[in-house]
Amino acid sequence: MHAGLATSGGRVWATLRRQPLGMAAVLVLSLVVVCALFAPWIAPYPPDAIDLASRLQPPSAAHWAGTDEVGRDILSRLIHGARASLGVGIGIVLIGSSLGIAIGSVAGYLGGKTDAVIGRVVDILLAMPAMVIALALSAAMGPGLGNAMIALGSVSVPMYARLARGQALSLRERDFVRASRALGAGTFHQLKFNIVPNLLPPAIVFMTFHLGSAMLAASALSFIGLGAQPPLAEWGALVSAGRGFVLQHWWYAVIPGLVIVLTAAAINLVGDVARDVIDTRRQP
């Protein structure tokens, strides 16, 4: 196991060296993560510090990204917003993956009637327009970033369930799993030590790409007023707040949007790197 980790670390490095864009993406994403973790220490101003004397200032040395309609520093709100935006994205991925992988791996490993029922239900759920369902669900639960996260997380459960089920179906026929079963390993032991750890690599690749789209989806819900509520600084909500001023004070809506694009693009590129590293079949 340790040897495996060491070689995969080496593979990450080798892949990154061949892909300068991937390297840049890792740097951008690290910056966002650092901002999210240490926001109060990095941000030049408190995110809610109102300063009516300097309302709607364009970008300047004092306010790199300008100020909003009550004089709050937009850069500071963006730095704090990394917590909400990245956090909600991670929350969505964790809700979807934990439930989906649990359901899918049990179905795939057990097979038989359990699998037939779960598989059919998953197929039905996958045939529905997920974002539309998430929209209705989050409207029904009421505005709020937590509710948006639950709505977007739950509609992603079937995707993970399908992925995990497929992997579990093939893993349970592998020799090491059969051997373990012959030695008397119970279902829980099998799932915990043999099935789930081995289906994680492809799941992690999927989770990376999902993080990007989940973050975008959550920011879209915030933009239309269902996600983050004022005064919480979240990137989609910042664009939404700047929307009313976009024609006179373009930076207010444009800069937060740019941050979303950069972060989402970085996540997608990191996903490409993760796929190259993990999917050894594609290696020359």
């Binding site: 974002m131 933009f223 929307r243 949007g257």
Partner: protein
């Protein structure tokens, strides 16, 4: 393929579709139950006596077991009864159907833009595989996937409406213009029928920005599919034969490879409908487009649940039908699939 085989395949798909449809109603029924507020209390008003509310609950069937309520819900759906819009008092279904042509017109133009660009970029990236063209197109498609629709809409509005003054930023027609007499509900086509050049130009101008915004989300996915499908087809024997016979590259690519490479596009376009429906909610609100999406967003903000649920069911049904149609079309155009069935 024999007609009988085809009919059997179509029947099986249809049966699967009915099951999914039942699933959709279960999910929407569940969501309607999650919704906050007691419908009886809402209908009776805040100052109604508890007896009146209890009476209303009984009349609405809210005191019945859940499965009885679901049965009634299904009965109402079957007759197209989604309840009244709380805001306007008119049937939710009527409110939505009245706005469908505006939304479909927008979606069709967006799909046209996305498909055209997706095919052109996809073919280019496959033809110039691993060159700078490929890298550039791949970068573009990553940015396209990573750009939030709502932000792109604002950006286009800023650049083309405010700074350049080239295109209008809201609505379907210039102020002062009368909509052409309604035949299809699509302003472009109705203006064409009416021979109204002014309205036609105005309608097209108003479509450009929202349709381009809506198209963006799908372009990335389409480029990827066309590229990988082209690469697969280009490695086939018959393409090598065509090349060996000395046919010009352009002919090989466009006449021999492209038609086969486009088949997977059918499925992807049907799947992209989900993104377009959700995207329309956002794009229509950014560009004040008087369609279903904007109305639904307004309904969401004022908690008008009959409208929200009606929209959700209709969207799911449209998505389902599009995917069914795609399945059938796929089999019709690709003889290889028929062997399997």
């Amino acid at each position: 393929m024999q007609l009988r085989q085809f009919a059997r395949m179509a029947r099986r798909r249809l049966a699967a579709g009915v099951i999914v449809l039942l699933g959709v109603t279960l999910v929407t029924f569940f969501i309607a139950h999650v919704a906050p507020g007691d419908p009886a209390q809402m209908m009776a008003g805040p100052r109604a006596s508890p007896e009146l509310v209890a009476d209303l609950r009984a009349r609405l069937g809210l005191d019945q077991p859940v499965w009885v309520q679901y049965g009634r819900y299904m009965q109402r759906l079957a007759t197209g009864d989604f309840g009244q819009s709380i805001a306007t008092g008119r049937p939710a279904l009527d409110e939505i159907t009245a706005r469908i042509p505006a939304t479909i017109e927008l979606m069709l133009v967006a799909m046209l833009i996305a498909t055209t660009l997706g095919i052109v970029l996809g073919v280019l990236t496959a033809a110039y595989r691993d060159t700078w063209v490929d890298t550039l197109a791949r970068g573009t498609s990553i940015i396209a996937i990573s750009t939030p629709t709502f932000w792109l809409g604002l950006l286009l509005l800023l650049v083309f409406y405010d700074w350049a003054g080239l295109l209008p930023g809201s609505g379907r027609l210039d102020a002062g213009l009368e909509p052409p007499p309604s035949v299809t509900g699509f302003y472009t086509i109705d203006a064409l029928f009416a021979g109204d050049g002014l309205a036609l130009r105005s309608a097209i101008n108003h479509l450009v920005l929202p349709a381009a915004t809506l198209a963006l989300g799908s372009i990335g996915a389409l480029v990827r599919v066309v590229r990988s499908s082209m690469l697969e087809v280009l490695s086939e024997d018959y393409i090598r034969t065509a090349r060996a016979a000395g046919l010009p590259t352009r002919t090989v690519l466009l006449r021999h490879a492209l038609p086969n490479a486009l088949i997977p596009l059918i499925t992807v376009l049907a799947l992209e409908l989900a993104a377009l429906i959700f995207g329309s909610v956002i794009v229509e609100s950014v560009f004040s487009w008087p369609g279903v999406g904007r109305f639904v967003l307004e309904s969401i903000l004022r908690l008008d649940f009959p409208v929200i649920m009606c929209f959700t069911v209709l969207a799911a049904v449209a998505y389902l039908l599009a995917n069914l149609l795609a399945d059938v079309l796929y089999v019709t155009v690709d003889p290889r699939i028929r062997e399997i069935h």
